[in-house]
């Protein structure tokens, strides 16, 4: 079982290059240090409609700002592909939804997630109710926020996780 076949690796590289042909050289023999800024990554067809694209780019980029090298790019699509193992996806999903990067998904992270998902159409009380319910359901150690273990424990049981946390490119 492989993550990528040869033809799709080519496709990935050319997609990366198409974002900025003048910045990305054709040959990587000398290991050039090329980083594409977040604006280019976020404008890709597969990502531009995703409400979490900024977080995705930030999680997979080296500098944490969303500027990605080719390695980061490949890493990102490798984790998001069909063949990546569930635990790996769960780990990265946790990092994506952890907006303040404190290794816990706290209530403010949850609120941001809900608002991004519904484009701010729920009332604040409804948002609060939803976040409380989530913490109630998934928090195992009762610290009022979700740790990595809580999140993984909850997400590996979800029937849709693998099919929705998946980008085909």
């Amino acid at each position: 079982m492989k993550v990528y076949t040869f033809p799709s690796l080519f496709r990935l590289f050319y997609r990366y290059r198409d974002l900025a042909p003048q910045l990305v050289p054709l040959s990587y023999i000398d290991k050039p240090d090329v980083k594409l800024p977040y604006e280019l990554i976020g404008s890709m067809a597969e990502l531009k409609d995703n409400p979490f694209r900024q977080r995705i780019a930030e999680v997979f980029s080296e500098d944490g700002e969303g500027n990605m090298t080719l390695d980061d790019f490949l890493d990102m699509f490798s984790v998001l592909s069909e063949m990546a193992p569930r635990d790996l996806k769960a780990y990265y999903a946790f990092k994506i939804y952890d907006f303040n990067n404190d290794d816990y998904i706290c209530k403010s992270d949850l609120e941001k997630t809900v608002n991004k998902l519904t484009r701010n159409e729920l009332t604040p009380e409804e948002v609060c109710l939803v976040c409380d319910k989530v913490i109630d359901e998934a928090d195992q150690d009762n610290d009022g926020k979700l740790s990595v273990e809580d999140f993984q424990h909850m997400i590996v049981r979800a029937p849709d996780f693998l099919s929705t946390f998946h980008i085909r490119i």
Partner: protein, 809 residues
């Protein structure tokens, strides 16, 4: 001398083990090399060099290490082996580690270099060169397999098309197309079987058209045989072609290959069902495997909604808009459910409404069944009349298609009375449509059976007529007193029996074709014309056509899937009597794929409520399996009990169709095989075998239930343990009442000091042990040393803490 011999022996043993391990992990190594290639991808030439160099370096390293052989002692050898194993394990699990790509690559290169440097050293002694050669061959083989897999993946048809549909409409609509593609594959295999083993031999090696009565158009029909209207009804030249059962000759062997056509026809008919059964069940088993681990369905509703509802595959703003809206609605619904979960509605009213709805629907189903029966009976009387119009000829098909078009929406409106949860409502709807189609199909079949029986009685009459006609023909020649023997009668003039099998085949082909036409026309009118109308007339219409009625159509997944399943059922039923039917179906599926993809992309809008495709796949497979069994029954019945026509088809002249097997066994196999079969066919043997199978099913069922029971028990235990840990960490009230009492006894200071800080996950238990040790230290101060209460702390300690072995005394 002795030492080196001993070493080389150990080395050979080690290398033997190494070879085995190597074979197991060479694939991983190839994967690891693949990863390395990911970054060196840019220059293509680079890859080729890369591919060659590991093979070269391994052989060169093994050659260069020959001088080191003697210097490695046994402990060093085992230590080296362990290290190599460790590195290999690292390489194989590298993919799962959540590190940065740069770090992974650095570690990977280091590990690979290490493995390649030293594994050559482990192949010592005489087997070294052979070992290196074997390594190289293993690597080449793995590479070849990988290239072949790549090639196979590229060969999967329509992948990009389905991806496009998926990104616009979500995974549920795409699942219909994936199902369609799967059906196409199955049908292609069936077509290959039938075409290659039945149709082609008869056409190539059988006697040609026009030479015997069954292969010629009768004189009476020859005038109109080429007319389009006749051909459209599958009469005329088409009826007397290899597409239908009646064309095949009953010669036992044909051609120089001595190909046994009747036997082949029978076996292909049986294997069509066998293969379909195998493929469907294999697919169901695969789906079932993916669905295991269901368990806590209700525990994480909101969490799952929050983290798994966004479909990352969406790449289109319109779909994204719909998805946002559907997520919002879904959250609102769940919130309302949560707030009103205890609200009790009028149960009696709801039950009454549901019963009423079911009664109405059963009435509809009965009504439609009777209508079909009536129409089929009428068509039989029509076929006896002359001058029948186009409507009378196609009445049956028209009525069935109309029913299929209008009843499902009717069911949906009646089902609004029931107020079920949408997913349950959908299952009821699918079940009802299924019953509708089934009822129609079986009524159709019953009417067909009447027709067949009629034809059978007719046949006896015609057989006599044929006999007398031939007799008269030859007698008349004798009376004319010519010494020359007359040529045999022109095949077109022979009186022909009413070949019932061909009639049945024609009926099925007609039904299939009309079904195809109706589907395509529905899509064209219902989706495309409607979309054009809404788009262009909207400018000059009173109300907003796009938002209100009729607006754009949504892709009806369940209707289409059911249509596909029923179509396949008809193919299965009809393929025994019309071998060409599968070919027609293959063409239909092929054009359907392109046509429906185009229609979906051009005239449909994504669903308001995006349908979750994950769990329903096995439901459709289950329906397919049911249809397969149901379509097997009529065919099996006719094969077993009806006599074949006397003058058409590969079984003509036999008493029953399955006699062909007996004949083959008697004539083609040696004598003892016939004896064996006659013993095996004895009811005394078959009944115990059936009994044994029933018992085996019962036993396996019991075992499965036992496993399920054990599963639930384990889950309960895990839940209990989780609850215990949860409470331990927070020193809340535990499940044990004794401990609760103790809780109350505790001095508040002891309690506050024993609160563990929940900072690290893994060290909880250690913290608690530590703190409970403290607790214990405090206990002497709670009460006098010799009171029984002192025993309670130890009990608590033992009860709660897993590290109870830590005795504080």
């Amino acid at each position: 001398m002795n030492d080196s011999d001993g070493e080389s022996e150990a080395g050979e043993a080690a290398s033997g083990k190494k070879k085995r391990d190597k074979k197991a992990s060479s694939k991983d190594q190839k994967e690891a090399e693949n990863k390395e290639k990911q970054t060196n991808k840019k220059g293509k030439e680079q890859d080729k060099k890369q591919k060659k160099s590991p093979a070269e370096s391994s052989s060169s390293s093994s050659a260069s290490n020959s001088s080191d052989e003697e210097s490695l002692s046994e402990e060093e050898l085992t230590r080296l082996k362990e290290q190599v194993e460790e590195k290999k394990k690292l390489i194989s699990t590298m993919r799962n580690k959540p590190w940065r790509m740069v770090k992974k690559l650095a570690l990977l290169r280091e590990a690979q270099a290490f493995v390649e440097k030293f594994e050559g050293a482990l192949g010592k002694g005489k087997g070294k060169k052979f070992y290196a050669y074997k390594m190289m061959m293993a690597k080449k083989w793995v590479k070849f397999k990988r290239d072949f897999d790549n090639f196979k993946t590229q060969c999967i048809p329509w992948e990009m098309k389905i991806k496009e549909v998926e990104s616009h409409f979500g995974s549920s609509v795409a699942s219909y197309f994936i199902f369609l593609r799967w059906m196409y594959g199955v049908n292609l295999v069936l077509f290959g079987l039938i075409f290659g083993l039945v149709i082609i031999p008869e056409i190539l090696m059988g006697i040609p058209y026009g030479s015997i009565p069954r292969k010629t158009v009768p004189r009476a029909e020859q005038a109109t045989a080429m007319d389009f209207s006749v051909l459209w009804d599958f009469e005329g030249y088409i009826k007397y072609s290899a597409l239908f059962y009646g064309y095949y000759n009953n010669q036992r062997t044909i051609g120089w290959l001595k190909y046994r056509l009747p036997m082949a026809y029978f076996m292909v008919g049986v294997s069509v069902f066998g293969y379909s059964l195998m493929v469907v069940i294999r697919s169901m088993a695969r789906n079932a495997n993916e669905n295991t681990g269901d368990g806590d369905d209700n525990n994480f509703t909101f969490s799952w909604k929050m983290f798994t509802s966004w479909d990352y595959l969406i790449g289109n703003p319109e779909t994204a808009d719909n998805k946002f809206a559907s997520i919002t609605t879904s959250f609102k619904e769940s919130i309302v459910d949560e707030q009103e979960s205890n609200k009790d509605e009028n149960i009696h009213l709801r039950r009454f409404l549901r019963v009423l709805a079911n009664v109405l629907i059963i009435c509809c189903l009965c009504g439609s069944g009777y209508l079909i029966y009536f129409v089929v009976k009428r068509s039989q009387t029509f076929s006896k009349m002359q001058n029948i119009g186009w409507y009378e000829r196609n009445e049956v098909e028209i009525v069935m298609s109309l029913l299929g078009m209008f009843c499902p929406p009717l069911f949906e409106t009646i089902a609004a009375l029931e107020e079920y949860h949408p997913r349950i409502g959908l299952k009821w709807q699918l079940g009802r449509i299924f019953a509708l189609f089934l009822g129609n199909l079986y009524t159709f079949l019953l009417a067909l059976m009447d027709d067949v029986n009629e034809k059978l009685t007719e046949e006896v009459v015609i057989k006599n007529i044929t006999h007398w006609t031939l007799l008269n023909y030859y007698n008349s020649s004798a009376m004319n007193d010519s010494a020359v023997t007359l040529p045999p009668m022109d095949p077109a003039d022979m009186p022909r029996g009413p070949c019932w099998e061909t009639t049945v085949g024609i009926e099925f082909v007609r039904l299939t074709v009309s079904d195809i036409l109706v589907t395509y026309v529905t899509i064209l009118v219902g989706d495309f014309i409607r979309a054009c109308f809404v788009r262009f007339v909207n400018y000059c219409w009173c109300w907003d056509l796009e938002a209100g009625f009729p607006s754009y159509a949504e892709f009806d997944i369940s209707g289409n899937v059911l249509g596909l399943i029923f179509n396949q059922g008809m193919i299965w039923m009809g393929s025994f009597y019309a071998p060409g039917l599968v070919g027609i179906n293959v063409l239909r599926l092929l054009t359907s794929m392109y046509f429906q993809c185009w229609a979906v992309m051009s005239s449909n809008v994504p669903h308001e409520r995006v349908f979750k495709a994950s769990k329903s796949n096995n439901f459709y497979m289950g329906l397919l399996l049911l249809i397969l069994f149901l379509s097997l029954l009529p065919v099996a019945y006719t094969i077993m009990s009806l006599p074949p026509s006397f003058d058409c088809g590969p079984f003509s002249g036999k008493k029953k169709m399955y006699d062909v097997i007996q004949e083959t066994i008697k004539q083609d196999f040696p004598l003892f095989v016939a004896k064996i079969f006659s013993y095996v066919a004895n009811p005394g043997l078959i009944i115990p075998a059936v009994l044994l199978m029933v018992l085996a099913i019962y036993y396996l069922n019991a075992v499965a239930e036992a496993y399920q029971h054990a599963n639930t028990e384990l889950k309960k235990k895990m839940q209990l343990q989780r609850d215990e840990e949860k409470n331990k960490r927070n020193n809340k009230a535990t499940t044990s009442s004794a401990v609760q009492d103790l809780d109350d006894l505790l001095v508040p200071s002891a309690k506050s000091e024993s609160q563990p800080k929940p900072t690290e996950g893994k060290t909880y238990e250690r913290d608690f042990c530590h703190s409970s040790g403290q607790l214990h230290l405090y206990f002497p101060s709670v009460g006098p040393a010799n009171t029984p209460t002192l025993r309670l702390p130890r009990a608590r300690h033992a009860f709660l803490s897993p590290c109870a072995q830590v005795s504080p005394s």
